[in-house]
């Protein structure tokens, strides 16, 4: 019978308690999903532990050192190895929780149960205890990383992931705190998600359409903290060491002390999307913050050590991550956690993609051996919920596995192209024998990604790890003394060159050369096929004083100094115009490598030297030019010419002939001083000489074909 009113289910027959435990009304919970989620009248807690023999839910009043109650799970609340319980009428705002887990204690077999400890929920949606960056909790606390309840509702206002085609992206890698922490940033709450919202107009002006956030899952900045010789406190600043895979870092939220970090982070993503900017998270699944057998017990170790970590036959930790332990990610249970985690961020936070730190680890089996068909990577590649997410592998690990070009990709994964970085750096500093490989890198590395497409190559010259772009041309050697390890940490194979003097100088020629080299690098990066990426601040010449491993510095060394925006406004304009140029020439970002024909949306590349069609591939060559022909956005033929000279002499380069009615016009000449180094897109300057062009020492020239102006 239709009464005119739809029947709404307001109450459920399971919305009442069946038991009372430790003074709390409870009932058997639902096994899935894991973690603590609101259900009718209460909170459903669910925890996995294969070998556990007993589990208790431990409840705290917010901030109290000692628990307020401990609720043992009755055996009838267990399904298989999953313990679940619904607890009614909990005070959402003021509860913290954990678990006490009892199980067999034989480390030689890999078990490390310890019922004297309280474990954090590995699926907790928020963590408290570390909600103010840089404030260390009492180290004697028995339960320092506290799981919290959070509201998971949010007003998205119709927001959804942007689903930009990956080949359209220009990726900007940034550290949430470092981006706005500097006193010059001029924001209300420096170093927070909220502050990042205030800087979105800057990123829009630059023209990037994807930010890659360095780790934002809960980590402990005090992990392995220490003081260097200057008395500076060194932190785990970058955060590549996860404590809670389902929780955004509270210390990055202005509202973290109120437990509203989830709302603040969601708002950041919503605001980025409004500005047309995708959000990619740098995720660290190769290891956890629990370290090796001497590390802290936080969650996995006491839950099911043998399942979650790769262990030697003696029960010790394999260390393919270089940080003490290795997550056993091809175990089906761990794989499920990783998949659940990414699905959670994609669906609950509208995240657009993920970059996987030391992803080669994710292709190793439980014994550490690389697998031919790693189930985790396959699951992620085919997951329906992640279908539109960018998946980027850092295709190597600390155990010596290097898989750039050979990462198990399922035609789905992209890679940080380390070979791109190495080749472009070597070429620019003047190394011999680079021209052939450079050519391959400029057109999307078809030697590595022919079957997958150019968008599988994330091209970068600088990233958080290593020299900034400015330092790449100011320092030949790393200068990491401030890291407190006698300059022993950080990479040595930097392919960097100081242009004549190590570090600071007032020599105008050297400074001019450095400016030019930065522009050369940005020019090559932004005309290369593949997804370009650079690290925050490179567009305004940020330096780290030669430190190529600033992971431990929460100081001006690692913060972005916004006064550079004014100081290096000409470089900002240069990069902004290059990004606009890339946007205006679809062939430069096509996912199809050059096809040899512009039919069917393909493109043509021709290689040149001082003479058209005569590239010098010899080992002694430092000069390469290419012309690209494809179709523009209107389907009309489009021609771009790029010459790059890493030699210290001028060379005159013969120019390819254009179809009648078109003339070469200059977009970039890095030999010229600003503002003549770059034109505005569409206002490129017609060349008087259409037959040849002088290309200066260590420079890049970019030309574009423009229609002949009608004579007046």
């Amino acid at each position: 019978m239709n009464t005119g009113q739809p029947h709404l289910v307001r109450d459920r027959i399971d919305a009442f308690p069946t038991h009372q435990i430790a003074g709390y009304d409870v009932r058997p919970g639902r096994a899935l999903p894991f973690g603590a989620v609101p259900v009718s009248g209460g909170i459903n807690f669910s925890l996995f532990s294969g070998p556990a023999t007993a589990v208790s839910l431990v409840l705290f009043r917010r901030g109290d050192a000692e628990p307020v109650a401990e609720l043992p799970f009755p055996d009838e609340f267990r399904v298989g190895g999953v313990w679940s319980m619904t607890v009614f009428a909990l005070d959402y705002d003021n509860v913290e929780y954990g678990f006490r887990v009892t199980g067999p204690e034989h480390p030689q077999l890999g078990d490390r149960f310890d019922s004297s400890r309280i474990l954090a929920d590995p699926y907790a949606r928020a963590m408290s205890g570390h909600e103010r960056w840089g404030e260390q909790p009492d180290p004697n606390l028995s339960y320092p990383y506290r799981s919290r309840l959070v509201f998971d509702d949010f007003d998205w206002d119709g927001d959804r992931p942007l689903r930009l085609p990956s080949e359209e992206l220009v990726v900007y890698e940034l550290h949430v705190r470092g981006f706005t922490r500097h006193p010059s940033s001029g924001v209300t709450h420096p170093g927070t998600y909220a502050a990042l919202v205030e800087k979105i107009p800057y990123l829009r002006e630059l023209g990037v359409n994807c930010v890659e956030l360095m780790p934002v899952f809960e980590f402990d900045e005090f992990e392995n903290h220490r003081w260097n010789e200057d008395g500076e406190l060194l932190y785990n600043y970058w955060g590549y060491s996860t404590v809670d895979f389902f929780a955004p870092k509270a210390g990055y939220a202005a509202t973290g002390p109120l437990g509203m970090q989830c709302d603040e982070f969601r708002n950041l993503i919503k605001e980025f999307h409004k500005a047309g900017i995708q959000v990619v998270l740098d995720v660290v699944f190769n290891h956890t913050a629990e370290g090796n057998e001497r590390g802290p017990m936080i969650n996995f170790r006491g839950l099911d050590n043998r399942t979650f970590y790769m262990l030697t036959p003696e029960g010790y930790y394999y260390n393919f991550s270089g940080t003490g332990n290795t997550l056993n990610c091809n175990n089906p249970v761990v794989r499920d956690m990783v998949l659940s985690c990414l699905r959670f961020w994609a669906s609950e936070y509208h995240i657009d993609g993920f970059r996987f730190d030391l992803a080669a680890v994710l292709g190793r089996g439980p014994d550490g051996a690389p697998m031919a068909n790693p189930p985790l990577l396959e699951s992620l590649a085919y997951d329906p919920l992640l279908r539109d997410c960018l998946l980027v592998a850092e295709a190597w690990d600390a155990g010596g596995l290097y898989q750039v070009g050979s990462f198990p990709h399922y035609f789905r994964w992209s890679e940080w192209n380390g070979k791109y970085r190495d080749t472009v750096r070597s070429f620019l500093k003047g190394d011999l024998g680079q021209v052939g490989e450079l050519a391959t890198r400029l057109v999307g590395s078809p030697d590595l990604y022919a079957t997958r497409g150019a968008h599988s190559s994330v091209n970068f010259i600088s990233c958080h790890d290593g020299f900034t772009l400015a330092d790449l041309f100011a320092y030949t050697d790393k200068h990491n003394l401030a890291n407190g390890e006698n300059n022993g940490d950080g990479a040595n194979d930097n392919n960097s060159w100081n242009c004549g003097v190590e570090g600071d100088t007032d020599d105008p020629e050297i400074l001019a050369l450095r400016r030019r080299q930065i522009r050369n690098a940005m020019s090559l990066l932004l005309i290369s096929q593949g997804i370009p990426m650079f690290v925050a601040g490179d567009e305004i010449g940020r330096s780290q004083s030669g430190n190529n491993n600033a992971y431990c510095h929460d100081s001006p060394l690692s913060w972005l100094d916004w006064s550079l925006q004014e100081q290096n406004a000409d470089l900002f304009r240069f990069v902004r115009n290059l990004i606009a140029f890339r946007a205006a020439h679809p062939m430069l970002r096509s996912r199809r490598h050059p096809t040899g024909s512009i039919e069917d949306g393909g493109s043509v590349v021709s290689w040149h030297g001082t003479q058209v069609g005569r590239p010098d591939w010899s080992p002694g060559s430092r000069l390469l030019a290419m012309s690209r022909t494809g179709l523009d956005a209107d389907g009309e033929p489009d021609h771009v010419y790029v010459a790059t000279n890493a030699h210290w002499e001028w060379h005159d380069l013969e120019l390819p002939e254009l179809p009648s009615g078109l003339r070469w016009a200059r977009f970039v000449d890095t030999t010229a001083e600003a503002p003549d180094d770059v034109a505005s897109v569409g206002a490129e300057q017609d060349l008087d000489d259409q037959r040849s062009i002088p290309v200066g020492p260590r420079s890049v020239v970019i030309l574009v074909a423009r229609p002949v102006e009608p004579s007046t």
Binding site: D93, N94, A253, A254, E264, N267
Partner: protein
Amino acid sequence: MDIQTDHSRSATVVTLSGDLDSRTAPEVQDAVLPLVTDGSRLIIDLSAVPYMSSAGLRTLLLVYRQAQQQHSAVVLVGLAADVRDVLDSTGFLSSFLVCDSMEEADHALSRVGLPQDGAA
């Protein structure tokens, strides 16, 4: 939490005094939601609310969403600086009409047109 309701003006005024958190949110919700009816005008005076938690904020959002459903209008008045800051950092501020004074709130409400008013 003290909740006062005043119907003597053209808009109903609800004055809250005390922290708005998980302990007080249910009573605020019970008191305020029934006031949001078809075409109603509501001013929530928060000048005596020094602290608002996640649960408290959601209560306000619930009221706001209900108002949208009912084509009625809600204005927040007298946000403490801290409360306003939290609303701002989490992006919720843009969901609300916020005014500094009662007079401003009356004015703002007088400009909120119902669909039949033909106002843009």
